[in-house]
């Protein structure tokens, strides 16, 4: 038997380990920690490639280890600068860490090489738009969203994102036109709902009411549509009918919320119903709970407006 020195042992351990992992790695996926360990060994032994680094970064990201993911992605970009997808992934991770400026730089570098890949270019433009929103540059963001949708007009989610931004900017008619186009392109039922919201935000009360009525009748769970109808009725000065709807909505939501109070959209809806009923304190409570449960800008905007109002 040969005697091995310690460094030989280490080295042998490494490659013997590789012998057992090599066949499995080709198809298996046995949890992120396991994947990271195997990819680390592969990188140590066979060298870093953009593919291995990207795979490891994805596993790091899954575990919320974003700094390590960023490091791998930066190296992957340097090894394969022409891979737009890696740059997009890097930008997402940097955005997640809160490095908006660096994320923007990563997106820009991707955009510079994306002339021939229109789907990737559209994804990058959407991401840059999201980054601009986070940076408070709403008009620039809107321009990016428009450009992305023009390149890839089949994504209902993107129409929805743009609609949300247009609402915040008070661009109601452009929003309605954009949603009409989105519905034509995708047929999405969700965009139909968003269009009803847009009609309400634009003050087209009667038109909205016409949209709401059949939806309400077709729905098993009615609270969202009752709140929308209440908004239309308030706009049409039919306050008493609106209050009936709002109270019915609150009752239904209470049944649906369950003991944990964790359904963010229901909390947001109930908060809005309370707000429309003038019950500010309950509205604030629900908005805060919704934010805690994962709600984003929509509820945050309402919350801020309510907090800014006199005697909230």
């Amino acid at each position: 038997m040969r005697i091995l020195c310690s460094c030989q042992r280490l080295h042998l351990g490494l490659w013997i380990g590789l012998l057992t992992l090599m066949p499995g790695r080709l198809t298996a996926h046995a949890g992120p920690e396991h994947e990271i360990a195997e990819l680390t060994e592969e990188i140590l032994f066979f060298g870093a490639t953009s593919d291995r680094l990207l795979q490891r970064a994805i596993e790091y990201r899954t575990l919320g280890r974003l700094k390590e993911a960023e490091k791998d992605l930066k190296q992957a970009v340097s090894l394969q600068p022409s891979q737009i997808g890696i740059r997009r992934e890097l930008a997402r991770v940097q955005f997640g860490i809160g490095q908006t400026k660096e994320a923007l730089q990563s997106v820009e570098s991707g955009l510079r090489i994306s002339e021939n890949d229109l789907d990737e270019r559209a994804s990058l433009l959407m991401l840059r738009g999201e980054l601009q929103v986070a940076d408070g540059k709403h008009e620039k963001a809107l321009s990016d969203f428009d450009a992305a949708i023009q390149l890839h007009p089949a994504n209902a989610d993107w129409f929805l994102l743009r609609s949300g931004l247009q609402r915040r900017l008070g661009k109601h008619e452009a929003r309605l036109a954009g949603l009409k186009e989105g519905i034509r392109r995708t047929g999405s039922g969700m965009l139909e709902i968003e269009r009803t919201e847009a009609l309400l935000d634009a003050g087209h009360w009667a038109l909205a009411l016409k949209q709401i009525q059949p939806e309400l009748e077709a729905s098993r769970l009615k609270a969202s549509w009752q709140i929308r109808r209440a908004r239309a009725l308030i706009g049409l000065q039919r306050r008493a009918e609106a209050e009936t709807d709002l109270k019915l909505a609150v009752t239904e939501i209470e049944l649906r919320l369950g003991p944990g109070l964790k359904e963010a959209s229901l909390l947001g809806d109930r908060g809005f119903a309370y707000e429309l009923l003038g019950q500010t304190k309950q509205a604030l409570y629900d908005y805060l709970a919704a934010m805690e449960a994962g709600s984003g800008l929509e509820v945050q905007t309402r919350l801020k407006a309510l907090q800014a109002a006199p005697n909230p």
Partner: protein, 672 residues
């Protein structure tokens, strides 16, 4: 008319040197490159999808009897897609003629082999709950055999109450024996039961390792071909498919493979995307989500659509499925991984507030089935206290079925099933406190819904029923949140796990057979790795058949032993590949001692038992432990291979001067 593409399937095998018969499974018969399968069924329509090598004149005929296929869908009503290569220069000579302006104007397949044409024929004006037979034609020439197996049953009208059965599986697309065994076990079970499938659900990871088009073909379509031709598979995308397909754009091999309802054609609210959608089957409403690459947050589009869809669902039963499980301690841990935590904390509250009865997921390579639970959304470690409504086993013949009030009501309890155990290697890290059954065996799940009763069965790969649970929705049942529910036994990690060796694919062609003649040299290692290149002149090398070796055993070409015998051996041999983009995996079945490095066209594709370096500069050779033939999938064969002639080369090394045994007995195979 003698079309060049029609003959390709016939000549391809002959041009692959040393080709042997397929081991199991097999490629579709010419001219199909993907046999016909059914998709997007509803009460009044269905879509038949198939692929051919080269174009055909697509026609589908269907009818109520095999002898009277009077419904005809022909060109003009058939969606055609094609893969013709991005550049003229990359197109093999035999496909140049099909790059016509007309064909180039067709929608493109993402990354299918060049020459592939896909056809999607929607048959409309059908009667609900009715059996139809169908056949695929090239103009007037029938392509599918005259067989009653080419049939489908349209969906019942929404709300219809009668017994339904569907199959659920996940993480299966390996092309290996466990996948086949699980499929066979299900087929055996339903045959014995005399109760066929209405449809099936795949919860993702159906085409390992990265969801490439060829992986879909060999590891999904060829594996499940008999089931696909007559019952619809409703899919959700797994993370492995997500490597090549994107939910945000709906582009990739996954989206090429399936036709999913985006406009509410099969019931539910139109999603406008194939990434998530819903459909009805009788009195059941199904919801499919993309847990892999879309925003999971409550204000994201998918969550908003989910809420809107649930608002309008009126069925007796609500069942949701996606890839990443909210609760698991299998090969994944739902308390540590972001995707899983987000599905639990953002999506499950909507699911349970909407009254969903059953959630089906995969990703974690294990079978786990929960008690009747509600409200466990913590982003930290999952606990069971107050989240369990019934801690029995749900077995109709043991603790009794889980009971819920009739109708669709929020927070009356959901059963979670993780069915990521249908093919991929299994794994377990612990025990989720919400799970009533945790079984580390390959298998799949059959669900029967009959009126107010739903029954789930886990059938393992041997065909044995390993778990059964029922949910009965009847009358009014009071909700009782258990402060101290039943606790599953603590998981003790085994002190050692048996080492597993890689398994060869089931469906393969032999490129260089065992016992083939090789050019060989015992001194070429002095030439670095030049001898592995395709244009290396090996005319002065000897030629002899494998196996090469000395020591114990019988060798076709014995090598000298003792101190004068060689410590290393280089062998090389040419082989032909007509079209490299049709290869899913290249693998080496080899008996060896002690170490080897393999090359294709000069590029290293496998290294076993050897440290850094090669030839005379090789470091750290280790005596092989064990013996017999092992399988190694070769690394990145696609980038090493080229159309036409290729060279496969192996350098084999004895671990030391004292090594008595020296052996090289290789066989090169291709999964295609």
């Amino acid at each position: 008319m003698n079309k060049p593409w029609c003959s390709l399937s016939t000549i391809l095998p002959l041009l692959l040197l040393g080709m042997g018969p397929l081991a199991l499974g097999g490629n579709p018969p010419a001219p199909f490159s993907r046999s016909p399968y059914v998709q997007a069924v509803s009460p009044h329509q269905i879509t038949i999808v198939w692929r051919t090598e080269g174009p055909v004149t697509p026609v589908v005929r269907a009818g109520l009897t095999p002898g009277n296929l009077n419904l005809v869908v022909s060109r003009g009503s058939v969606i055609e897609r094609a893969s013709l290569g991005k550049k003229e220069s990359e197109v093999p000579a035999h496909w140049k003629s099909i790059r016509t302006p007309k064909n180039l104007a067709l929608p493109k397949l993402h990354s299918a082999p060049i020459g592939t044409f896909q056809y999607e024929a929607k048959i409309t004006a059908l009667k609900p709950s009715t059996t139809y037979y169908y056949a695929v034609y090239d103009g007037t020439k029938r392509l599918t055999p005259e067989s009653v197996e080419y049939q489908f049953i349209t969906q019942p009208e929404a709300g219809t109450r009668r017994p339904y059965r569907f199959w659920v599986l996940g993480d299966s697309g390996t092309g290996r024996s466990s996948q086949k065994a699980v499929h066979d076990a299900m087929l055996g079970f339903i045959k014995q039961d005399a109760k066929p499938l209405d449809f099936w659900i795949h919860v993702g990871d159906m085409a390992y390792g990265t969801g490439q088009d060829t992986e879909f073909q060999t590891r999904f379509f060829e594996s499940y071909e008999p089931t696909l031709r007559s019952s619809v598979c409703w899919p959700t995308m797994g993370n492995h498919e997500g490597s090549t397909s994107k939910g945000t754009t709906g582009v990739g091999p996954y989206y090429d493979a399936y036709v999913m309802p985006t406009q509410g054609e099969s019931g539910g609210v139109a999603s406008g995307t194939e990434a998530y959608f819903s459909f009805n089957h009788g009195n059941i409403h199904f919801i499919c989500l993309d847990s892999h690459d879309l925003d999971r947050k409550p204000e994201g589009a998918m969550a908003k659509w989910l809420k809107a869809d649930l608002d309008k669902a009126h069925s007796d039963w609500l069942i949701a499925f996606w890839h990443h499980p909210p609760y698991t301690k299998g090969s994944h841990d739902s308390d540590k991984e972001k995707d899983l935590i987000e599905m639990r904390s953002y999506i499950l509250p909507i699911i349970e507030a909407g009254g969903v009865d059953l959630v089906l997921t995969g990703h974690s390579h294990i079978y786990e089935r929960s008690m009747l639970i509600d409200g466990a959304y913590s982003t930290n470690a999952t606990t069971a206290e107050t989240f369990v409504l019934d801690d029995g086993d749900g077995g109709p013949n043991s603790d009794g079925a889980y009971r819920k009030s009739a109708g669709l009501n929020p927070h009356l309890g959901t059963v979670q099933v993780v069915t990521g155990h249908s093919g991929q290697s299994l794994g377990r890290t612990g025990t989720s406190p919400l799970m009533r059954r945790t079984i580390l065996e390959h298998g799949s799940v059959l669900i029967d819904v009959d009126g107010d009763t739903l029954t789930g069965r886990m059938i393992n790969k041997n065909g044995t029923e390993r778990d059964v649970f029922s949910i009965i929705k009847r009358g009014t049942v009071a909700v009782n949140r258990l402060p101290l529910p039943w606790q599953p036994p603590e998981y003790k990690k085994p002190s050692s796990t048996p080492s597993s060796t890689a398994e060869a694919p089931l469906d393969f062609r032999v490129l260089i057979p065992r016992g083939a003649e090789w050019s060989y040299s015992t001194s070429a290692t002095s030439k670095g790795s030049l001898w592995t290149l395709i244009d290396f002149d090996a005319s002065d090398w000897k030629v002899a058949p494998a196996a090469f070796g000395r020591g114990q055993g019988v060798f076709a070409t014995p090598l000298a032993g003792g101190r004068n015998g060689p410590r290393s051996l280089c062998v090389r041999r040419e082989f032909q590949i007509i079209q490299t983009d049709r290869i899913t995996e290249l693998g080496l079945r080899i008996n060896y001692a002690d170490a080897f490095i393999a090359y294709i066209n000069g590029r290293e594709v496998a290294r076993v038992g050897a440290g850094r370096g090669n030839g005379r500069n090789i470091q750290h050779l280790n005596p092989r432990e064990g013996s017999g033939v092992q399988y190694f999938a070769l690394k990145n064969p696609g980038s090493a291979l080229r159309n036409g002639t290729n060279v496969f080369a192996i350098e084999c090394h004895a671990a030391s001067e004292d090594s008595l045994d020296f052996l090289l007995d290789p066989e090169l195979i291709a999964e295609d």
